[in-house]
């Protein structure tokens, strides 16, 4: 088609009547110039909180926020702009809003830092948190094995479809999915000794996590097993394979790839739930941080613990996501 040709009737029917009053805001030149204006505003025109007259103070801040929102909104809503630019603008917008909050909220940043980010209080005590993290990972590892074994066993038994067996298996799954983890641990740790069974804090944690997450794992496995087509089972049985051979050779190899994403999700959730063990005095990360918090009379150890949890869990969550994506292919 010749772009210089006069529009046909059909083309006219679908053409824009008017380019729009503000079409020029999409021009790259405007994007650049407006950014420069905003920079100038931010550097020279933002008022000083102590000295500026109140009216001017509120007016100029409001105007600045409006301009920033309008500018970033204009870019974010423009389908023609590259995604990379949009990401940068979105991040910048968040940074600017935080910066304004920092400048003008009136928070006592010095005191906040002294309370929550007083790293001096942790000097010489990092090893305590490191030990705590070790215990956390150890508890999570053992409970992961326990819960997967528990879940697999329950799911396999359910695959036998025996009504009597199912009665107990369903009861187990329902009860342990309904009971809060913290209650379960407290019961195991504080109540069982009265029945003559003393598990101690580490063992009660492992047992509670294995039983609790075993119930979830069993449900994941069951969903995976049920996703295997019934014709597969019939084919296997018609060849003379026993139920157990059918489960092992036909059902599980097909079910496990389906189960891995929800399973790894469960395990990450379980790693987080080891923090609950601090109520039964298991010396894991949160418990050790709380001890430090008490002895130093400063909450910095808790912040440190939070950061350690994030540092361990974010890569793990990412990894789970990657496994999921790979299995989808």
């Amino acid at each position: 088609m010749d772009p210089t040709a006069a529009p046909t009737d059909i083309e006219k029917k679908f053409m824009r009547k008017h380019p729009g009053w503000f079409y020029w805001v999409r021009h790259p030149l405007f994007t650049v110039l407006a950014f420069a204006v905003l920079m100038v505003y931010a550097i020279f025109l933002l008022p000083n909180k102590e000295t500026a007259p109140p009216l001017w103070f509120y007016f100029s801040i409001s105007l600045f926020i409006l301009l920033v929102l309008g500018y970033s909104g204009n870019i974010l809503a423009d389908r023609g702009k590259p995604e990379l630019l949009k990401m940068i603008v979105a991040l910048l917008l968040i940074a600017v809003l935080f910066w304004l909050f920092y400048l003008y909220s009136g928070a006592q940043w010095g005191r906040l830092r002294k309370f929550f980010f007083n790293w001096k209080k942790l000097e010489g005590n990092w090893w305590i948190l490191r030990n705590g993290l070790g215990v956390t990972l150890f508890l999570a590892f053992i409970s992961a094995i326990g819960s997967v074994l528990m879940g697999l066993m329950v799911a396999i038994l359910r695959a036998y479809n025996s009504p009597t067996l199912n009665l107990f298996l369903k009861a187990y799954v329902d009860i342990f999915r309904s009971i809060p983890m913290i209650v379960l641990m407290v019961v195991l740790f504080f109540a069982l000794p009265f029945a003559g069974i003393s598990l101690g804090s580490l063992l009660s944690t492992v047992v509670a996590l294995s039983l609790g997450y075993g119930a979830y794992t069993a449900e994941s496995f069951r969903a995976g097993i049920e996703s295997v087509h019934s014709g597969q089972i019939e084919a296997a049985r018609s060849l003379g394979l026993s139920r157990w051979q059918t489960i092992r050779k036909i059902i599980l190899p097909q079910a496990i790839p389906v189960v891995i994403p929800p399973l790894t999700g469960n395990l990450v959730a379980m790693l987080k739930d080891t923090a609950v063990a601090s109520v039964v005095a298991a010396p894991e990360l949160l418990k050790r941080a709380r001890e430090l918090y008490t002895s130093k009379t400063n909450p910095t150890p808790l912040v440190a613990a939070a950061l350690i949890y994030l540092a361990v869990l974010i890569p793990l969550v990412r990894a789970v996501n990657m496994i999921e994506n790979r299995l989808k292919k």
Partner: protein
């Protein structure tokens, strides 16, 4: 070979699914090397009948004798009975996580406990028989419907069964693939395999079957040679059905 030797004897077989009475007293005898076709309108209980004979469906009452043995008896290990009966399904039901040759080797190795080498050797011979030896290492999803069904037949044959059941083996296939599967079945019939086939492939049945059982509403309403049934059917249900599919 004694051609009157009873391979399968069914006596007054009933199957109920809750309120549904699917089979209402089916009795028949299949002798060695006989090829029996089972026909009938949908819902007449053809598939259920076949699946009851190796207890993939548990019969509600009646007796089934395979080579003279009552397979409903409590001392019978049904898994051992099933090794004598190969079964081929409408939807192939190949194991998708295994290659063609692994599909075939699985049962001989795990049930018959033969060595991997021997199973491979036997499996390759069977694949050659169904003309798929070049597809030995292909996964089911890489095969066409007709190829999958031929692998499924080879898988059933790998157990060296005395009897083969076919449950609508060509119904899920594109027309141009039906022929290749029927060719394999025809060859098996010639070799003297005892076969029970649920199918509506009239041409194939006329040529290969010794006898047709016509099922309607859970009963054998008519049986006879293909000639008798196709050109001289006595029962009204049979005539209605044939007039509709011919």
């Amino acid at each position: 070979m004694d051609n009157s030797e009873k391979m399968i004897e069914v006596v007054d077989l009933h199957k109920r699914f809750k309120n549904l009475h699917v089979l209402r007293g089916v009795s028949t005898v299949v002798t060695r090397s006989e090829v029996v076709a089972i026909m009938g309108p949908s819902g007449s209980g053809k598939s259920t009948f076949l699946r009851c004979l190796n207890r993939l469906e548990e019969p509600s009452s009646g007796h089934i004798y395979i080579e003279g043995v009552d397979i409903m008896a409590p001392y019978i290990d049904i898994n051992k009975v099933r090794t004598e009966i190969g079964m081929v399904f409408q939807s192939f039901n190949l194991f998708p996580h295994l290659t063609a040759i692994e599909n075939i080797k699985l049962a001989p190795m795990n049930v018959r406990k033969i060595s991997a080498n021997e199973a491979t050797e036997r499996g390759m011979a069977l694949l050659k028989k169904v003309e798929l030896e070049d597809k030995a290492n292909a996964y089911p999803e890489q095969l066409s419907g007709g190829q999958q069904q031929r692998v499924a037949i080879a898988r059933a044959l790998a157990m060296q069964p005395q009897i083969m059941f076919f449950d609508e083996p060509t119904s899920a296939l594109d027309p141009e693939m039906i022929g290749e599967v029927l060719d394999v079945m025809r060859a098996m019939a010639k070799e003297g395999m005892t076969m029970m086939i649920v199918s509506h492939e009239m041409g194939f049945i006329r040529e290969a079957a010794d006898r047709i059982l016509f099922l309607a509403d859970g009963l054998i309403v008519e049986e006879g040679t293909p000639d008798q049934i196709f050109s001289d059917s006595q029962h009204q249900r049979t005539q209605e059905f044939l007039s509709r599919i011919l």
